[in-house]
Subunit: 315 residues, 2 copies
């Protein structure tokens, strides 16, 4: 890992070269760290991690993606005055949890998707058993990486708790279950019910990076609350844009099928608010997120830029 | 949870009434705590945890079982002079990980089992999607419970790491993958390869309770190493007896099908060592485990009794 040089260059980049360059750089740093945290592919019965499992985990975790949750975590730590490289292990743990959830959500028994990030899903590239185990492995490895790598120890423990609560049976797993139930439901939901699903299914794991970054930086309550407010608003805005992309997005750029939500009768924002109403709501939330960052000063410029850029994303 | 009274009574029980009574009592305490850590079943769209998910997690986690890993953890803490009730959250986390692994292993894509502990497996009682999510939920909840409940904080962090390493892609998940691959293999394995599978598939999660109990009790290196040695030996002995029960066990007592290992062409101890040779090896390991406890004195009598009792188990 060559993360030592990141702070100064990352800070400089965001100041003078803009957001895209910062994001590219952060993604490269995170991807290098992710690769280093994964078990190596060794063949033969003496391999500590069976090669098929190691290959499946690498295939899914290193197969591209926006790395949004890691970037949010690095930016949050930086916004509180910490060296963002201190947040790299936590950032990687967030991406491991996100990736495990995609692997399991794509399974035939769940959303039954064949394509993810423009490539066959894990169970298509390998098989169902391997995909289940690769997901279980990444979920477990996320907590190992935090416990082993995050400093100081009390921040590590705080991160374990934040991540487990966000990802667990009152968080992301609950959201996925509620989403599956809503899909099968003949009744029409309400906007409040849709938001309750999204708050858990995607919102919780978009809020966690901000809380974890704040914990690692040892942020005071004001800053931590500002970041949490930002995280909640951005999480919802992100999901609205996701729903819009399923209606209007470009399949090639997205690397997955579009139009699937409405085929499945899923509750989406465009269904409740229309396309224009959904756009307005997303912008309003992004502006709320930017406004929440006032106590953090210039150091939060990366987060401000990101909130607005997410409105324009096409993948 | 009424765990306050456990220490004195548990200690007394093991001294004067014997192992069975101690185990019954420990199981009751653990089961009460497990029930308290699980999300409640609430109906309706406002439920924090969807009722189907909460019911599935409760069905599998509270559906009986030997509670061997929790008991080992309580006994290890006690053997190092701690109040065993201090180890209850960690003990519960171990059982959550064990139960999640059973739910996922039973899935059609994995071992495809319909019966577990005498009842339909989770995906039979609910459905596959719910079973996958119930497993994911229990796995994640295990780390939440440790981070939130184990004291002191540094012991909690140590427990997160021990448990994640034991359960993750170099531990239990690797073992399950290797086991699936061995099953499909046309080549005959060696005893060393079989032991390498078991060391990860079941051994790692039987060793972890001893390490976690020692961490919670703040044990010195000598005691921690003695317990770890015990854990490794007992873990292997346990697996040998498991293989023997699949050959000679009583389906009604076991609550699952017997003879399945050989049907599937699984590598087992009886296949390599014969029935009598396997029995001898299990006894040898149990005696090694008892011998390892010498530095711990009388307080380890529970663990000594348990190692020998596991040889005679019929479920």
């Amino acid at each position: 890992m060559t993360t030592g040089t990141m702070t100064s260059s990352a800070t400089r980049v965001i100041g003078s070269w803009g957001l895209d360059e910062y994001l590219d750089r952060a993604r490269r740093v995170v991807e290098e760290a992710l690769a280093a945290f994964l078990p190596n592919v060794e063949e033969g019965p003496e391999a500590v991690c069976p090669s098929r499992l190691a290959r499946a985990m690498r295939y899914s975790l290193l197969g591209g993606g926006k790395r949004l949750r890691p970037v949010l975590c690095l930016m949050a730590a930086e916004a509180c005055g910490a060296d963002p490289s201190a947040a790299i292990p936590a950032a990687c743990a967030l991406e491991m949890i996100h990736t495990y959830s995609l692997i399991h959500d794509d399974l035939p028994a769940m959303d039954d998707d064949d394509l993810r990030r423009g490539r066959p899903t894990c169970h298509k590239a390998f098989d169902e058993a391997t995909a289940i185990l690769a997901g279980d492995g990444l979920l477990t490895l996320a907590f190992e990486v935090i416990a082993r790598e995050v400093q100081p120890p009390l921040a590590a423990l705080r991160c374990v708790r934040i991540l487990a609560e966000a990802a667990g049976p009152l968080g992301m797993v609950a959201g996925q279950m509620a989403d599956l139930e809503a899909e099968g439901s003949t009744e029409d939901g309400t906007l409040a019910e849709l938001e309750a699903i999204h708050r858990r299914k995607t919102g919780a794991l978009l809020r966690a990076p901000l809380q974890m970054g704040a914990a690692i930086a040892g942020a005071d309550d004001d800053r931590a609350e500002a970041l949490d407010h930002y995280g909640k608003a951005v999480g919802l805005a992100f999901q609205i844009v996701d729903d819009l992309l399923d209606v209007q997005g470009d399949e090639a750029k997205l690397g997955k099928r579009v139009g699937k939500d409405s085929e499945l009768g899923k509750w989406t924002y465009p269904r409740f608010l229309g396309v224009d109403g959904s756009r307005r709501r997303a912008r309003q939330l992004a502006e709320e997120a930017v406004g929440a960052l006032a106590p953090l000063g210039d150091r939060a410029d990366g987060l401000r830029g990101l909130a607005l850029a997410l409105l324009e994303r096409d993948r």
